[in-house]
Subunit: 117 residues, 2 copies
DNA sequence: CGGGATCCTTTTTGATACTG
DNA sequence: CAGTATCAAAAAGGATCCCG
C-alpha cells in the first residue's frame, strides 16, 4: 500500500461548491462591471447603462434581478417624478469588491505581459 | 452647470478591461477548480480528472490549453513510461489563488444564508 | 496515458421594438 | 425613466469515439 506517495494526494477542494456558487454570481456578462459601478454608491438604471455602454437593457435588468435575488444588491424605488430606481450594494455585495479587485490586479498584469487575448 | 451633483459621477472603472480580461480566464467552466487543484503542486491530466470528476476530457484539455497560453500554468511532458504530463501553476497563476479564495469566501456565506441557487 | 475530432444540446447574449 | 417581449445568434459545454 501507499503506492501513490505524491505529496499532493489532492489539495481537497471542499469549498469548490461555494466557489461554483459564487462564480455563478460574478460570472455573468457585465456582472463585475455592475458591482464595480455600484462600489462608489447607489446608481440608477440609466446611469448604469452609461457606465457600461455595451450592455443591453435586457441583459442589465436580468443581471440586476439576479443580483437582487442573491442579496448582492438592493432595488429601491424613489418617489420622485419622473420615478427612478436606485440600486445599491448590500454589505454582502460589498464583500465582492476585494475579490473583484484581486481579479482586476491579475488582469492588469496579464495586459502588461501581453498575454491578454 | 453642475446639474447632476451626485456624489458618484461614476466610480470610473478604468480597470474594467483587465477585469474582463481576467474574467475570461477564471470564468470558464471548471477553471477555478483546475487552479484550485494545482494550488498544492503539479498534477497530471488524469489526476485532475479525478479531482474534478464531472469535467469531460475535452473541456479539461481546452481549459488547460487556455491557461497555458495565458501564462497561468505550465505543461511539462515527463519522460516516463507510460508518458505523463504535469501541469503546474506559474507565479502569475498563483496570484489567482487569493482572488479565488475571496470568491470562495463569499460563496460560502451565500450558502449559509440560503441564497445559493 | 493524454488528448484531438465530431456532433449536438443547452445556455447565454445581443438587437430591436414596444409599454406603463 | 425603467424596464419587458420577442426573436435571432452565438458561445459554451457535454457526449462519444478514436488515435498516437
Amino acid at each position: 500500500m501507499a503506492l501513490k506517495m505524491r505529496k499532493n494526494v489532492s489539495p481537497k477542494p471542499p469549498e469548490s461548491c461555494p466557489l461554483t456558487e459564487c462564480m455563478k454570481i460574478i460570472g455573468g456578462a457585465w456582472t463585475p462591471n455592475v458591482i464595480w459601478s455600484l462600489r462608489g454608491g447607489p446608481r440608477r438604471f440609466s446611469e448604469l447603462r452609461v457606465d457600461i455602454p455595451p450592455v443591453s437593457p435586457k441583459v442589465l435588468s436580468t443581471r440586476l434581478r439576479e443580483l437582487e435575488e442573491r442579496g448582492v444588491l438592493t432595488r429601491t424605488i424613489m418617489p420622485t417624478s419622473p420615478p427612478s430606481v436606485e440600486y445599491a450594494l448590500t454589505p454582502l455585495g460589498s464583500r465582492l469588491i476585494p475579490a473583484i479587485e484581486a481579479i482586476v490586479e491579475v488582469g492588469h498584469e496579464l495586459k502588461e505581459r501581453g498575454l491578454a487575448h
